[in-house]
Symmetry: D2
Amino acid sequence: MSVFILRIICSDEKGLVYKTSKVLFENNLSIIKNDEFVDNENEMFFMRTEYSGLCDKDKIISDLKNVLPTNVQIFLEKSKVKNVILLVTKEHHCLSDLLIRNQYKDLNFNILAVIGNHDVLQPLVEKFNIPFHFISSENITREKHENLILKTIEKYTPDYIVLAKFMRILTGSFIDTFKYKIINIHHSFLPAFIGANPYMQAYNRGVKIIGATAHFVTIDLDEGPIIYQDVIQVSHSKTAQDMARSGKDVEKIVLANALKLVFEDKIFINTNKTIIFE
Amino acid sequence: MSVFILRIICSDEKGLVYKTSKVLFENNLSIIKNDEFVDNENEMFFMRTEYSGLCDKDKIISDLKNVLPTNVQIFLEKSKVKNVILLVTKEHHCLSDLLIRNQYKDLNFNILAVIGNHDVLQPLVEKFNIPFHFISSENITREKHENLILKTIEKYTPDYIVLAKFMRILTGSFIDTFKYKIINIHHSFLPAFIGANPYMQAYNRGVKIIGATAHFVTIDLDEGPIIYQDVIQVSHSKTAQDMARSGKDVEKIVLANALKLVFEDKIFINTNKTIIFE
Amino acid sequence: MSVFILRIICSDEKGLVYKTSKVLFENNLSIIKNDEFVDNENEMFFMRTEYSGLCDKDKIISDLKNVLPTNVQIFLEKSKVKNVILLVTKEHHCLSDLLIRNQYKDLNFNILAVIGNHDVLQPLVEKFNIPFHFISSENITREKHENLILKTIEKYTPDYIVLAKFMRILTGSFIDTFKYKIINIHHSFLPAFIGANPYMQAYNRGVKIIGATAHFVTIDLDEGPIIYQDVIQVSHSKTAQDMARSGKDVEKIVLANALKLVFEDKIFINTNKTIIFE
Amino acid sequence: MSVFILRIICSDEKGLVYKTSKVLFENNLSIIKNDEFVDNENEMFFMRTEYSGLCDKDKIISDLKNVLPTNVQIFLEKSKVKNVILLVTKEHHCLSDLLIRNQYKDLNFNILAVIGNHDVLQPLVEKFNIPFHFISSENITREKHENLILKTIEKYTPDYIVLAKFMRILTGSFIDTFKYKIINIHHSFLPAFIGANPYMQAYNRGVKIIGATAHFVTIDLDEGPIIYQDVIQVSHSKTAQDMARSGKDVEKIVLANALKLVFEDKIFINTNKTIIFE
């Protein structure tokens, strides 16, 4: 029997849990896990339900629409392994970690291919028998470069695109094509140290804690909905290079934790924030 | 309109969320927050629902019993400030922290009185106009001492008893009288360093992290259901006394966090563990 | 026999540890603890030495100046309890925590007085028999208000001034008067969320971690040398008010930890950063 | 010019920093970093000095012995990349992480070979062109098995042996052969949950935090000097399998952090504890 993930967003009103669970009960489905949240500020209701059973998706959606508020958005998907394309530049630490997790099925995903704007990581990727596409950005426009990347991505129809230390800024057009489907790891505790060289910024400011942030990519640089953050302590004796070195371990774990939440369909986007049912 | 907290434990089966939410809906009650958990190991279902409305408690319980499994346990209470007695010995740090929170209503509780087996903390307690009862254990049996404490407690009918660094072991009889109503703070990261002088034990073992644990008191010393734990890093340069000093801040915050969960009725006891809906 | 704290800053060169320890050895002093750090970026040497013995301070300083580089700065003080004035507004949590630590000698300090620009905290302070000076800022200029505060401070000759949730911005003139002697607690993980209402800023940004920062006050708002920072995790279910409530516990512990370092003379200021020998 | 690491242990007395730094100064050596610690309980002095210069090791040791207490132990080594043998069983997570760090020189070590008592990890190791020796323990005595391992190790003359999830208990004889040269990662926050299946133990106890511990291996199982520990929070909703999965990330980072300290010669063993100068 299959497992399905139902996600509902609608304006809040009395009886939503009852009405939703009634539809599932009458369709003979078994709730495995149920989480809900009301955003009182915006009077919106968010519910995520994992259920099992023989499920006619169209009928469930139609039954739900009959009883829920008219502004309801329903996302209903069979729980599945997510297909993913990684974009990288030169740093290996997030890529390595994901290649290993892919190899040993430690994360609910399947790496279809890796695209790099440099080729230094090609040998590593190929060790794991995953296609590596080297698409240099040299001597071409940003648009031309992104078009080449897009064409390569199109061959694979991925569910998500992961920027595993991809050190280029994407255009709004590219981001729109994969709305809320691109996840980035930023090497600071956002919103501190947006932009380039956050470890040097952190060193210069003399902070006692550094961090990393995984977030969905939106058109505003480093401003998309935050998925996961973590930090480590540093002292005055650490140079910017030392911070970068220790920070890599935080980055790779933060990215992996964020992707686990994304790939298990545990996240709602609520304006520019995430709602996460762990 | 009042807020009520409903907690249900029963064997797991299909339709429990539906059946419960149906009862609430038909009684015209509004769900504010709903959490559930299935313990698959023991096939048990746990649900906590906060709802508001005009509520006839007996009717709700009776309606729920009609539709839920026969082994169901139902706890239904109006959300309220909890009345608490503190037991202390000589250390002030948890007591001070709770007196301040009581004074400023930072925690959902009301300290009725403090009982000490020493009198050194009496002046502090009285600064805050709270009765202090000095009940020495000197020259009397453990049973006699506990009887004196019991008699004092009985005057107050507290909801909970908090051992805020009470350095005596309670008898099974005392513990049974207040089953799952006594909360203790232990100055180690349980189950490491059970019993006396955990900081000296930690120092001798050379650990790099120390912690504190708040738990319900059961007849097995330091073995009751754990509510909250936290830790801090230590280095070789810390003596046992240094660890004790730093540890005090962890202890007081861990105890306060645990009490917040208890006093907001967010905890189920499941065999010897807690299920906590934050 | 007394304990002295020697702090040396000078340009880095070969033999500094040797030359310094030679002076101490020849003056028959015993090193208890010795820490040094070289800032390679600026080629500066920082050393902190705790020693005991019968010490003629002037002779030690003169002996050291004879052997150390000409740009040397020497700070030599007998280890002592620090005298402190607290400035507060309406929030009690940092103040309460410090009053309790003062009462029980849990921190190496002595609160001389508390100055408030509101009077709501007066009863709390007076419970602990500490003078409270209510200096309202209503209907007077910022300069006039600060002058009144200054005059009150002058009566006490404190070593440090602690802003324990003092919600007013100090003028450059005031800050200069107590250069690197004013410590503030800011309710965010700086440099994120500088300025007013950081918890609302954090809520609006949807961060998954919030924090607090203790720092020396300089003329640039929330930009002074950072002493201590810590964080806690938050989720989408927390409102700005919830964050503020949980954040208070972080704030009070961060401030206490920072003050411990300051009062034990463990900190150097290096441009706009701190060097801390724990 | 080379960097040397000097480590001194001796009984504590006045003038040790002076006498040691004098020897280095007179031999025209430059101190890069100097750390010392006095264990007041045992009246022992520990000092670690990194220095650079042209160094005649024998002369330095002899000069130091002339001025330091007679019970002095001196360790003096040129800073170098450490040669390491890994022992593994079936779990890949620590091994993978170390293979990647080895490949990219992220850790001050060089993996000479991997020995497994199962062969499932052989393909992974060989991807990185590192020799894998499969030495099954089936149908042979523990002594015979260890002898086979020993013979393989002897071919390589490693500096350290790392048990990267090697799930067998070593004999005292094996451990003695590599005294304080064997590092293990244990999948719990020691001393909690010594022995087999710590995640199941943690699940059964209902702890709210789980951890990992890297330690030197001594004859007492899981009782050797602790190098590094870290923890993560867990909730009632995590099964023992979930904990094991999340715990793997803690284990690999804890092991890597511990090895960094070991390989940079930052650790002293003091009875059954470590002294670590970070």
